[in-house]
């Protein structure tokens, strides 16, 4: 039995609608995160197993080099190297999924949820940083395995790396802001 003013009612209804939207979208995002993680791993495995050698060399920045066919062991090793930044990204997606699941459960301002969001930010940054290094290792590995007489080391830093780092930084700041919000929420719980 709680008294409410007429002004409280629309505000409360708005909040309920907002929470409902957040829960629905979070459920969709949680499903998208796990699906994307599985698809990315499968696509990467398929890429290294089925892509023609010339295409692999071209995409590793070794387009003009004469090539011999890559054997299975080299493809498997290249897959492992390529999976390093992707593994960081997948860890980030799984952290984001835990965060979304917590939102679905209504657990918005808890330290654990904020920890998942921060893990997502760190994983995105780690993936962005690892990607050029993995690319460099791949170019060396592919050139050593297929190109006769030449060894190449290609190191690429593109706008996607910088954007991913900005994205990660933004989420890290949002996580810190949420920590402040959690402190306010804890304080508010001490009001009766």
């Amino acid at each position: 039995m709680k008294s409410t003013t007429t002004a409280d009612v629309p505000a409360r209804q708005d909040r309920q609608r907002r929470l409902r939207r957040m829960r629905v979208l979070s459920a969709v995002m949680a499903a998208a995160c796990i699906t994307t993680s599985a698809l990315l791993t499968a696509a990467m495995a398929f890429y290294w197993a089925a892509t023609p050698t010339r295409t692999l060399l071209s995409q590793a920045g070794l387009a003009d080099s004469p090539a011999t066919e890559l054997d299975g062991a080299v493809r498997a090793l290249a897959f492992v190297v390529a999976m390093l930044p992707l593994a960081a990204l997948i860890y980030g997606l799984l952290s984001a999924r835990r965060c979304f699941k917590a939102f679905v459960a209504g657990d918005v301002f808890s330290r654990r949820t904020i920890g998942h969001l921060m893990a997502f930010a760190v994983a995105i940054a780690a993936s962005a940083i690892l990607k050029p290094f993995a690319g460099a290792v791949l170019s060396a590995l592919l050139s050593a395995s297929t190109v006769t007489g030449t060894k190449t080391l290609a190191f690429h830093i593109g706008s996607d790396t910088l954007i991913a780092l900005i994205f990660a930084g933004t989420f890290a700041i949002i996580a810190w802001v949420m920590t402040e919000a959690a402190d306010l929420s804890d304080e508010n719980k001490q009001f009766v």
């Binding site: 039995m1 709680k2 008294s3 304080e187 001490q190 009001f191 009766v192």
Partner: protein
């Protein structure tokens, strides 16, 4: 904290049970108990209004300022 909550005294004077007041106000008995002990950071006007209506008293009857040493939470 120099603010003393006199809710326990008011309940005793009016022979009102905590359970009945908590139900009327719309808070848990646990929170009402914390309020009686002064172990809360604040009281919402909404809660205060309901308590005053139920006990037919003024907010000043429930809260007293007593000069004394400040606790670390006073400055918050």
């Amino acid at each position: 904290m120099p603010i003393r909550v006199r809710l326990a005294v008011m309940l005793a004077e009016r022979h009102v049970k905590s359970k009945d007041l908590a139900e009327y106000v719309g808070i848990t008995e646990a929170n009402l108990s914390l309020l009686k002990q002064g172990k809360v950071k604040g009281v919402r006007f909404e809660t205060l209004e309901r308590i005053c209506r139920f006990l037919e008293c003024q907010p000043g009857d429930l809260l007293r300022y007593e000069d004394g040493p400040r606790t670390e939470t006073d400055g918050d």
